[in-house]
Subunit: 153 residues, 4 copies
């Protein structure tokens, strides 16, 4: 299970993350579950801020078929955090974000993972092409050297 | 159930609150439960920022015997929010914060409530006097006209 | 702040509540916020189980204008809990549930509170009369001696 | 991204999972984040129920360095769910659980993932051997055909 620690310069978009009192579990650090709430929030916020995505009215929405996290070191409320994003795989209807959680000011990520969005019609839940305005925003945070893994469909 | 809508100038301390994607419930607005996470976070952050409170090491900690919320209008991710605090009742070992949640920039509170902290010894969980440094910070956000209700013990 | 401890025989409907690992906060007990998730879940489950309420399709839904909790003693994962409900105030469009959280098998409530639901049209969010099938279910859990407080509207 | 759908007979331990009202996000299904709360709860409950693990007093505790989930079909409150567990990799200080979430009664998993626990000294947070009583319990849910991946350390 060797895991490369990622640094800030590997990410293209940053979103501040505010910890909450009850993010900490009884071991005194942010519970493993909560990192995924940070991922989800940062990914959606990227679309809100950069592509005018409105989760209340959008007829095409992103749903998550896969997520992953490696936890490298503890973070805890009241730490101020940042989520870093880049995109390694951009397909017709799906996208895979690489995500990292940093303690504000740290060079090395406290956690790294990925988060896949498949775009679907809000009513039918059938996959559709990523809307052009969202795709354009995504292209601005493509990794310099995309992963060699199979392209997302 | 007449409820007075509170405005910003009734509060003495403000803390920004970041909404999260899954704060919204299936009706598309922040779930009633989550407001209490905002309360909890703002109250503890007040102590962290103004009285050097360290939840990991403090030997005297605040636990909550009572909380309350009135919801006046919906808020929703990705709204940016603020929590406003003031103190109406400051006793020997307990304090009652009046709390309000504002959509950033709004004059009128979207929700108002209160949150009581009783200070206890971290190990024995017996009530103790509020530490002097915390009490001093609390005195800076006392309401101009404290409620006439019975003082907290 | 004298608070009457309520016992099981004061409640008319019980719903088991499963605690989760991250319900516990860093003080090792269920965080004050989470009790409201128990309230919300029990109240909606009462309608699902007893009045065929379907939160996905219902055109009339209950939204919460007010909630309250008094915490009497700690509960913690992995405790098994039960939520007890009764109704003290049943109006045309709103209802106030008295709610208690019990450690399974305990006579005395670990926490007591209330939770108000106002029924609204799902689209317009305007108050409407409580649907007859739901009202009938509610009448089966009316308190024997309703509170003398002003009736809910 | 071909993913094998797992069925119930591939799992060795089952734990019922109760959904909560606010598990559902604004798309009306359980938010991707919450599945990890189910994982965490089931894994810890396995240790509580089968190895006498007490998260409040244990001097050796499991912390999570890695988790993963593939979401195959939606689940939603008020669905009744079950988490299935088996162990594919059992090392000296760490264990990897394969986890699946089933709608109660379904043969095919709605979601599948894994959850790694590294056992550490509660104070020093240094890895230690898995306690014998916990290891014995783990051995009862080993997969019939462990994955060929590198053994956990």
């Amino acid at each position: 299970m060797s895991v490369t620690i990622e640094t800030r310069d590997n990410y293209k978009y940053f979103h501040p993350i505010q910890t909450r009192w009850n993010d900490n579990d009884m071991y005194g650090h942010v519970n493993n579950v909560i990192y995924y709430a940070y991922f989800d929030t940062a990914v959606n916020m990227f679309m809100v801020d950069n592509a005018g995505f409105d989760p209340h009215d959008a007829t095409v929405v992103g749903i998550c078929p896969e997520s992953h996290c490696n936890y490298h070191k503890s973070v805890a409320y009241p730490n101020k955090l940042e989520a870093g994003l880049r995109i390694d795989r951009l397909g017709n209807s799906s996208v895979r974000y690489e995500v990292a959680i940093f303690i504000a000011g740290d060079e090395e990520a406290a956690a790294t993972g990925y988060f896949v969005h498949v775009f679907v019609d809000r009513e039918t839940r059938k996959p559709v092409s990523i809307p052009a305005i969202i795709r354009s925003a995504m292209e601005t945070i493509l990794a310099d050297t995309p992963s060699s893994g199979g392209a997302a469909s």
